[in-house]
């Protein structure tokens, strides 16, 4: 195991030692892959000694950056995230247990590209970008284009995701994330739905983004559904109509958790609820237990 103290050194280690190495952030996926899935990394490069990768920062231009090594728990309890994007704090709180969230990082969760990752839909709905650093320099890609398939991203093996940036949002922004899972805690999402839009005082919706998790090889936007709501006055009937369209747009699989048909039906219901919940005022608390009454 190596513990580089800079990104350059980390990248160089991978170049020198060749294929078969793995980056280590929180380890909650990597250690399980080694134990249960027979992964045998030739070497491991621990990124946690590199300074500056784990912080949530608000910038003067209204954007917010989340360092790749920021833990899920830090996102969950961050006053800045709770104030600006309560549904994003909640989505981080939906991951595993507190013990897991004290280790699991936002960057690790993105880089591992699990289709059901809970924070990905909310970040994509917020138009977030990912900063990637490698031997050939630095690049920024929209998080929407970051995922390529289960476990696959646009990153090369020697590249490191360093930061997620959420651009400035409107003061009228509202949002919601619903993780649908029959178990209250400690399970992956059967369906994840994030919704954001700007809501005027006459309930007109604009800049609508609907992002689905766990119902396609990557998190996906439901663009046809977004178009139905765009520019319209929000009503319960319209939310239901958008939900029906979203159910048509998703591409779920059947697996041990759920059949594809059930997932599709639940996408319709959860999208409707997410749209309506987003417009309802929050009571200021975002912990999962306080939100439960509005979920079902």
């Amino acid at each position: 195991m190596y513990q580089p103290i800079s990104l350059q050194e980390a990248s160089r280690l991978l170049k020198e030692h060749g294929p078969g190495g793995r980056f280590l952030a929180g380890g909650t996926d990597l250690v399980i892959a080694i134990k249960e899935k027979g992964l045998v990394p030739k070497y491991v490069v621990d990124l946690k000694k590199i300074p500056g990768l784990s912080a949530i920062r608000e910038h003067a231009d209204g954007s917010v950056t989340i360092g790749a090594l920021t833990t899920m728990r830090e996102v969950e309890i961050s006053p800045a995230i709770i104030r600006k994007f309560p549904f994003l704090a909640q989505s981080a709180a939906e991951v595993g247990s507190i013990q897991i969230r004290n280790r699991a990082t936002v960057g690790g969760n993105m880089a591992n590209a699990t289709p059901s990752a809970d924070v990905a839909p909310g970040l994509i709905a917020l138009n977030a970008t990912a900063k990637i650093v490698g031997a050939r320099g630095e690049k920024t890609v929209p998080l929407e284009e970051f995922f390529r398939g289960p476990g696959q991203t646009v990153m090369e093996p020697d590249e490191i995701l360093t930061e997620i940036t959420i651009p400035k949002t409107s003061p009228q922004l509202v949002g919601e994330y619903i993780k649908f899972s029959p178990r209250d805690m400690m399970d992956l999402a059967y369906v994840g739905v994030a919704v954001t839009y700007n809501l005027t005082d006459i309930n007109r919706c604009s800049d609508v983004r609907i992002v689905l998790g766990a119902v396609a090889p990557t998190p996906i936007r439901a663009r046809n559904s977004e178009a139905i709501l765009e520019g319209q006055i929000l009503t319960a009937g319209l939310a239901a109509k958008v939900g029906e369209e979203t159910a048509k747009e998703c591409k779920p699989i059947s697996d041990v958790r759920s059949s594809a048909d059930y997932r599709r039906a639940m996408v319709g219901v959860m999208t409707k609820r997410a749209i309506l919940n987003a417009a309802a005022p929050r009571n200021g608390k975002v912990s999962w237990c306080d939100r439960r009454d509005r979920r079902y």
Binding site: M1, Q3, L24, G27, T28, V31, I32, I34, K35, E36, V44, D46, K48, R73, G96, S97, I98, Q99, I100, N102, R103, D184, M185, M186, S287, W288, C289, D290
Partner: protein
Amino acid sequence: MKKKIQLTLNGKITTLEVPSHRLLLDLLRDEIGLTGTKEGCGTGDCGACTVFLNGKPVNSCLVLSGELDGTDIVTIEGLKIGPELHPIQKAFIQDGGAQCGYCTPGMLMMSKALLDENPNPTEEEIRFALSGNLCRCTGYAKIIQAVQDAAAELRSKNV
């Protein structure tokens, strides 16, 4: 490949030479002999192996020893205050919060983490905090009662 690490373990500075891939859980139990920390699932689901790493509760079954240089670890053996059991431990005994006892060290550590942050949690908040700790005996009612009683005891002492 062995690696030399120095860490603070239950308040004592400890120097060890261990393979980087050894799990913190195995390091504690097999190399150091602190067997209070239990292995339940080994995959971060059950919480029996919960310890504090730099003040925060984590699953020790998912932490590699190679990451530990310079860290501060507290295990269940470090929960006592001098020779006295911690009020949370006393409350679990008094309320029957343990049956077979296998999940208990993890439950106690997680309860300590909760009460450090929130001295007066609601039942829902206790259930939320302990959702990563599985118990197959008690049905949780007496564990929650014990955490509530420990919270009341700790609050009365601090006043």
